[in-house]
């Protein structure tokens, strides 16, 4: 035992014993004409110690993001400028290969810079495991809803058949997505990968794969599929086209979630627009044409900007491939300015989809006019695409760009949280209220991403999932209310609990879940994001907390006015009854799931955390 201990001690001490100490002189010439570090480029081995010794003048040592930066942002720091003395670089900075740039703050502009090359100099590229599956699960996931679309279309002269086909297809997709979620597991890297080369000369391929980030999204899409179909069970107007488009929408969104190739990602991203446009334009409310138009043009324009960003990434990487994995590997060679511009382009594309204030104006229109099934997909899945895209496509290849835009993202997120909540408070239309609350909730998720920490990112993904369950449920409620009372105007409602006690219970559960009641899924997400945000930004947390107070306010107000209180006299309440079976079951399922994921968050949290850790690893932040 003693020997073993000694051996262990030796092993631990061996590297330390071998460590060499290097000295860098921090000085200036006597006449002040030149300021220098000597040597300015220092080559050290991994584990070596670097000591700085002051000569003439008052200097300090601060890490710089690159060889041209003029100020200290983050990293090692020797303190305020000092005269004489010495300082040793903390040991953790020389533990891995990489290049450390630093400068002297008062004299950076006079060219007082230096760099330390540790080991090979290149930051080690984190290895991300790629696991190709033996069975093409993901292809089936994409093909089955597509086949369902055509099948529905084939039965277009049959009023009853399309909905049965759609339900069958979505149930099959649900089973597949559960399987995929389970198979994806919670270890690092991509799983179930498939690759079909589409264009070898440009490196486009249908590269599919899931990780802890996409698997929950696939699961969410799978869950919402049958619920949407059930909720639209009584659709009378052109049912074949309606259900066909719903299934097509499901294919496209699943495609966005499982593809790992920028080109194909963009392809699916745009395909999402087409069925959604028709869903709003044909089955929507009175102003549906305007809403559909606005939705299409807003998101299309933004995604064109995003496309230019993708192309710039592709060319700058020079790897002749659109694969996200390969391009992320090149991120070390992207210049900071380039990263800023490209991140800005991608962020515009994603922010419109999220949507963040000030790009949000299409959302309330689209939601209010969309049929309930359209709203469910819009709120449940489509709003997630933006944030998912940000995490999947923008963070890993553009770490410096992302860091540069952290303040912007935080500001937009906070504004969205408060603005969304405040506008919700002012709405009387139940559906509009839910629409604005989506903006607020997605703001919380963006806030999580903006922290660029594992907990924050994980909280954001959890928020996407939780909101993806509860927001559709709120739209379903709005649908039920409109269906039975002919109005969604909250002041006109009241006392629904007396007429439909069971349904009202579900309403209450969903509203409380949405406002973040402990024990429900949203709470887990909000807690993680807020903790992460507090760690990175301190008391700025009070602003989003204030938004949460408003959120609680409008949820409770709406609940109290519509469900409780005396029976409304302004609308005809005679016909109010319990929600129909095809309305109750989806609501009940969602409440169950929200509680399940609120009580047992680790089911989702473990894969999500691993995936977020991978992203941060690729960004070089861990």
């Amino acid at each position: 035992m003693k020997r073993l201990f000694a051996l262990g001690l030796l092993l631990v001490l061996l590297p330390a014993a071998a460590a060499e100490t290097h000295t860098v002189e921090v000085s200036q010439s006597d006449d002040g004409s030149s300021y220098y570090f000597e040597p300015d480029v220092l080559q050290v081995a991994v584990g070596d110690i670097v000591r700085f010794e002051w000569g003439n003048g008052s200097h300090n040592i601060a890490q710089a993001s690159d060889g041209e930066a003029n100020s200290y942002v983050s990293g090692f720091y020797s303190g305020e400028p000092q005269v004489g003395g010495n300082w040793t670089l903390p040991a953790e900075y020389t533990e891995t290969d990489g290049t450390l740039d630093y400068l002297c703050e008062p004299h950076a502009l006079m060219g007082m810079r230096g760099s330390i090359i540790v080991g090979s100099g290149a930051a080690p590229i984190p290895e991300i495991t790629l696991e190709f599956g033996e069975f093409p699960w993901l292809s089936y996931l994409l093909i089955i809803p597509l086949l369902g679309t055509m099948w529905c279309w084939g039965f277009r002269h049959h009023p009853e058949a399309p909905r049965v086909i759609a339900l069958g297809t979505t149930l099959a997709t649900l089973l597949l997505s559960i399987t995929i979620f389970l198979k994806a597991g919670s270890s690092s890297g991509y799983r179930l990968m498939e690759e079909y080369v589409w264009s070898s000369q440009f490196g486009v391929s249908l590269l599919l794969g899931v990780d802890g980030l996409s698997a929950p999204m696939v699961l969410l899409t799978g869950i919402l599929g049958p619920l949407t179909v059930l909720f639209a069970w009584e659709e009378q107007k052109r049912p074949a086209l309606f259900f066909g488009l719903l299934l097509l929408l499901q294919t496209a969104t699943l495609g966005v979630f499982v593809t790992l190739d920028y080109f194909v990602f963009y392809l699916f991203w745009e395909v999402v627009l087409i069925p959604m446009f028709f869903l709003v334009a044909i089955w929507g409310g009175p102003a549906r044409r305007y809403a559909a138009y606005k939705f299409f043009i807003y998101t299309f324009t933004a995604s064109l900007v995003m496309l230019v960003g993708f192309m710039a990434l592709y060319f700058e990487a020079g790897a002749n491939t659109f694969s996200m994995i390969e391009i992320a590997k090149q991120s070390g060679s992207f210049a900071p300015t380039f990263q800023k511009w490209v991140f800005a382009a991608l962020f515009i594309g994603f922010a419109v989809k999220m949507p963040m204030v000030p790009f949000h104006t299409w959302l309330p229109d689209a939601h209010v006019e969309a049929p309930t099934a359209g709203s469910i997909v819009l709120a449940g899945i489509m709003l997630k695409l933006g944030l998912y895209g940000l995490m999947r496509a923008a963070l890993a290849p553009l770490p410096l760009g992302a860091e540069y835009f952290v303040p912007v993202m935080v500001a937009l997120a906070i504004v969205s949280i408060i603005y969304g909540a405040a506008l919700s408070l002012a709405q009387t239309d139940l559906k509009k209220l839910v629409a604005y609350s989506s903006i607020s909730h997605m703001g919380i998720a963006l806030l999580g991403v903006a922290t660029l920490t594992e907990l924050g990112l994980a909280g954001a993904v959890y928020m996407m999932f939780a909101h993806g369950l509860l927001s559709p449920a709120m739209f379903m409620i709005a649908g039920v209310v409109l269906h039975q009372l002919g109005t969604r105007d909250i002041p006109k409602l009241g006392g629904l609990a007396q007429k439909q006690p069971y349904t009202a219970t579900l309403f209450v559960a969903i509203f409380l879940g949405s406002l973040g009641l402990p024990g429900m899924a949203t709470f887990v997400a909000e807690l993680s994001v807020f903790v992460a945000f507090f760690q990175s930004h301190g008391y700025w947390l009070l602003l989003p907390i204030f938004g949460m107070v408003l959120t609680a306010g409008y949820h409770l107000w709406a609940l109290q006015r519509s469900v409780f209180g005396p029976l409304s006299k302004e609308v005809n309440v005679e016909k109010v009854h319990e929600a129909l079976w095809y309305e109750q079951w989806p609501l009940f399922t969602i409440v169950t799931l929200a509680v399940l994921f609120g009580v047992l968050p680790q089911i989702l949290m473990s894969p999500i955390t691993v995936a977020c850790y991978d992203i941060l690893r690729l960004m070089g932040g861990v």
């Binding site: 589409w198 264009s199 070898s200 000369q201 440009f202 486009v204 963009y266 392809l267 745009e270 395909v271 627009l273 087409i274 028709f278 334009a281 044909i282 549906r288 044409r289 559909a292 138009y293 299409f296 043009i297 299309f300 324009t301 064109l304 900007v305 496309l307 230019v308 192309m311 710039a312 060319f315 700058e316």
Partner: protein, 480 residues
């Protein structure tokens, strides 16, 4: 070296001569139409066999006037296909109108002119081909001589067209004066003396003016809306798909091949024309109420996108431009096939005529929607792929050195977003409105072309774009 590669040209020439004779002997107009379509089908399959069956290894040159290479075969194939589809649609569209044999004869001669342009290897042959196609199309546009619009469109097309070809001719004569040769290959090899750059620029201006008319580039686009609106719709489809592609073939031959070494002289000129063309085209299309005029202005805008590839002058950009030219022929041709069908059904040529089209015919509505979304460049339809690789090529050239080319990409992308406004208006009418008024049923003859266009745009081009783009890049490589 046999003449068998020129078989399609000989066949069309012979048929164009025989057709009137057949009519005089048999007095059977319907037979003449079918004969013309059959001729086109034979020529098409002959090109197909020569191209794919035997494979085209080395370019074949005939008397220094014609040259058959990958580029020319590609476009010959495209022109014959366009003429074939136009022929089929015309059979139905013309119905029992008088003078049908003349119509089909003119269709054959116009196609012959295009084939000659596709394989011309000196400026004389090129010019003769252009004029042959142009004269035939003047008459085709004015074909319905009892119809005011058709005649007026014909007169306008004639006057502007011959004016512009006079300009081209003058430009060619200056070019000849500067170099002493008419052969495109010798022009390309010419050792330019920089003293003449002023005169060369004038020659380039004249040629740009003349060929800019063919592709409807701003400021030579004014004829397009009038002619597209007034001409019989199959002819419009033929012009929009074929004549425009022919203009690009001529532009490619003259600018990229003959004047490729003097890139610096015309690069900026074409770049500016490209940006102005796409912007003006899209802005003007926004407020059109007539579908023909709207598609005409959209055609102007598309010419702008394609022209943007010229200043880049890389194999990839030009390959993308050729690809987009061909896909544009499919989309625009397809859209006009639907416009013709809607017109025959008595629904008129306004955008309002498309209200509730989805409830009248699912297939036509779907095809129209796919064609329009393709024109915007929305995935997953064919137009997205050609447009993407077109801008990809320009982007690459821009990243490789000439930064200003990136502005062309940005302008193109913004314009695509702008174009969405007017295409969506038609799509909205098709799906969200209820049909108004009675319409005759749509015939079988438009169904098949519509279905073919649909399959091309949603299956063949998206799935096989890699192969098609390789073909286009080979064609571009044979130019450079």
């Amino acid at each position: 070296m046999g003449l068998e590669l020129l078989f399609p040209e000989f066949l069309l020439a012979a048929a164009a001569l025989l057709l009137p004779g057949t009519y005089l002997l048999h007095r059977n107009a319907r037979l003449c139409g079918q004969l013309a379509v059959a001729t086109l089908a034979v020529a098409l399959s002959a090109t197909w066999v020569q191209w794919f069956g035997e494979g085209l290894v080395t370019p074949a040159s005939y008397f220094g006037h014609l040259q058959i290479d990958v580029f020319s075969q590609l476009f010959k194939f495209a022109f014959l296909t366009i003429a074939f589809v136009t022929g089929i649609v015309s059979l139905a569209y013309l119905g029992e109108l008088p003078h049908r044999p003349e119509f089909f004869t003119l269709l054959l001669t116009a196609t012959l002119g295009m084939l000659i342009v596709a394989s011309a290897s000196d400026l004389l042959t090129l010019f003769i081909g252009l004029e042959l196609a142009a004269f035939s199309s003047y008459a085709l546009v004015a074909f319905q001589k009892r119809d005011d619009g058709s005649t007026e469109a014909g007169a306008k097309y004639l006057l502007i067209g011959s004016f512009s070809s006079a300009l081209t001719l003058y430009g060619i004569s200056l070019l000849y004066g500067l170099t002493g040769t008419l052969s495109i290959a010798s022009l390309a090899a010419h050792n330019w003396n920089s003293d003449f750059s002023g005169a060369l620029f004038v020659a380039i201006l004249f040629i740009t003016g003349g060929l800019g008319f063919k592709v409807a580039a701003v400021p030579f686009h004014a004829w397009a809306p009038d002619v597209y609106q007034g001409a019989p719709t199959p002819v419009t489809a033929f012009l929009a798909a074929g004549s425009k592609a022919m203009g690009f073939v001529a532009l490619l031959r003259i600018f990229v091949v003959a004047l490729g070494s003097m890139l610096i002289e015309w690069q900026l000129l074409l770049g500016i024309i490209a940006i102005v063309t796409m912007t003006v085209g899209n802005l003007a299309a926004l407020r059109q109420q007539d579908i023909g005029r709207m598609l005409a202005y959209s055609s102007v805008a598309q010419a702008g996108y394609i022209l943007a590839a010229f200043p880049a002058m890389t194999e990839l950009a030009l390959g993308g431009a050729i690809f987009h030219t061909l896909v544009h022929a499919v989309m625009k041709g397809g859209a006009f096939v639907i416009v013709a069908a809607v017109g025959i059904a008595g629904l008129g040529y306004g955008i309002d005529g498309y209200r509730g089209l989805a409830q009248r015919s699912q297939l036509l509505a779907l095809t129209m929607t796919v064609c329009l979304l393709s024109l915007v460049g929305i995935p997953p339809f064919g137009g997205f792929f050609s447009k993407f690789w077109l801008f990809y090529g320009i982007f690459q050239a821009g990243m490789a050195g000439q930064q200003w080319l990136l502005w062309l990409v940005i302008a193109g992308v913004l314009n695509s977003a702008l174009s969405l406004f007017y295409y969506l208006r038609v799509i909205r009418n098709i799906y969200t409105e209820d049909p108004q008024g009675e319409a005759r049923p749509f015939g079988e003859h438009t169904r098949y072309p519509a279905l073919a266009v649909l399959l091309l745009l949603i299956l063949l081009i998206p799935l096989e774009y890699d192969y098609l783009l390789t073909l286009c890049r080979d064609a571009a490589a044979s130019l450079l």
